[in-house]
Amino acid sequence: MFGLIGHLTSLEHAQRVAQRLGYSEYSDQGLDFWCAAPPQLVDDITVTSATGQTIYGKYVESCFLPEMLSQRRIKAAIRKILNAMAAAQKNGIQITALGGFSSIVFENFSLKNQQRVRDVELDYSRFTTGNTHTAYIICRQVEQAAPKLGIDLSQATVAVCGATGDIGSAVCRWLDRQTDVQDLLLIARNQERLQNLQAELGRGKILGLEEALPQADIVVWVASMPRGVDISQIPLRNPCLLIDGGYPKNLDAKMQQPGVCVLKGGIVEHALDIDWQIMELVNMDVPGRQLFACFAEAMLLEFEQLWTNFSWGRNQITVEKMEQIGTASCKHGFQPLLSF
């Protein structure tokens, strides 16, 4: 049994979903209510692999909302994630992906030091951030979508925004080792981490956002911020492939420049329909088939019976692990999303 811990994208979204599902107790409530709401196992999932193998999973709604971070309700945010993890473990789920902000909250607030949640001693080997698969899918999106726009990777400059993060650094490693990308532009807030990454790669230019973006043929956006950043006023190249791998995915609404193609990053399509409701609620274009790659990682680990925290800790993702999860991804019928 695999699990997915997810959340909705805003208070307004949460209210709408609750209304639609008929939970009137939840639908007209403000942030205070969500700060006190417990996690719920709201969906049963059946997935069949391209190999014919079938697995079962559960979706755990953590009741976390990004407003908890932007409005400094940090304790509530932490409780949501830990309680959702405890709920997953208590229900006997062997491998659970921490979707959306869950892994970011876990990492940034060092929740690994809070292993005890009521009567549950969290066993971290049962959880994965799913970031290895996300990073792999984003890299494959770069490799496969660029030629469609007439961008030749060997002559392309790729800017990675959020380069020092778990996913960003993995994307840099892959692009450096597995492709012949001409130039890498590294963008992040922490200079020390940027220099460490540059030293590790032995290449890459450290630049600010406004300086880097106009030079890039491809922009990989993997920064996750509760409030987001408006980059619509920065002039981009024509053509430019913008891979929106951040959270929430809202760059396409903001980007109106000619020649800029925005691709939802870190999204996979499954070859067969998945029996669940939840992707409809998070506004996937093809809810029966499209899903976050981090969620798909939990499915892959279940298919492969690799019940372990495959992606864990910060900046531990190697190219070899990306290849390993990538092989499983192809085998079981997952494809990177390539439609703009």
Binding site: A36, A37, Q40, K75
Partner: protein, 231 residues
């Protein structure tokens, strides 16, 4: 995002802390006393299970003594009158149900509501408790998790026939819990316990019990949030 949820330091000897403690400690002591009496009363109407229920009553009495020691340790006199008034409505509902032979309602009040309320309060209290009280409370929580919740098991075994009464009893009694939580919000805050954390923990424990008894997620979400915002 780098800010950490740092554990605050408390002055357990300050007048403000002790004043708040005099009420919270009394509530806990009274809660254990209520639990003891409720189990004894239920034992009398369920003679087949009397021995088991009396064992539970004894456990609750032991817990009560532990919490009395916590008050003494901080030189606090628990305000028992406040606590009895605090539990009066829930107590009244239990007595009315008992008199009307509504065992299902009695179990909902004692084994689901009071137990979940206590567990939530203890869970939230432990990280901010003084060292003496922390040890006592950790022992109590361990006890609570270890013993099989008799009422929960009884309701589970009779789920189909008790479901309707449980839903009705939930409507009658859960709003009292939210009122009770509101009433001590300031005192709990003085002790480092946030209301939203208490509510959340209560809903988790209560929801787990309802799930174990046989309710679906949809029913649990409705039942466990019933009356919360009206309170």
């Amino acid at each position: 995002m780098q800010e950490l949820a740092v554990r605050p330091e408390f002055d357990f000897t300050s007048e403000a802390y002790k004043d708040a403690y005099s009420r919270i400690n009394a509530i806990v002591i009274e809660g254990e006393e209520e639990a003891k009496n409720n189990y004894i009363a239920l034992g009398k109407v369920l003679p087949d299970h009397q021995a088991e229920l009396e064992k539970l009553a004894k456990m609750e009495a032991r817990h009560k003594k532990g919490f009395q020691a916590c008050g003494k340790n901080l030189s606090v006199t628990p305000d028992m009158q406040f606590a009895q008034d605090y539990f009066a409505a829930l107590h009244g509902n239990f007595q009315t149900a008992l008199a009307a032979d509504k065992i299902v309602t009695c179990f909902l009040i004692q084994s689901l509501i009071i137990e979940a309320f206590a567990i939530a309060a203890y869970n939230i209290y432990i990280p901010v408790a003084d060292p003496f009280a922390r040890k006592i409370t950790e022992g109590v929580v361990k006890d609570e998790y270890l013993h099989l919740n008799f009422g929960e098991e009884w309701l589970k075994a009779n789920f189909e026939s008790v479901k309707e009464e449980l839903e009705q009893a939930n409507k009658e009694n859960l709003p009292l819990v939210w009122k009770m939580l509101n009433q001590v919000e300031a005192d709990a805050h003085e002790l480092g316990m946030e209301k939203e954390a208490l509510v959340e923990d209560f809903m988790i424990s209560y929801g787990e019990a309802l799930a174990n008894i046989g309710f679906t997620t949809r029913e649990i979400m409705k039942m466990s949030a019933y009356g919360l915002t009206a309170a």
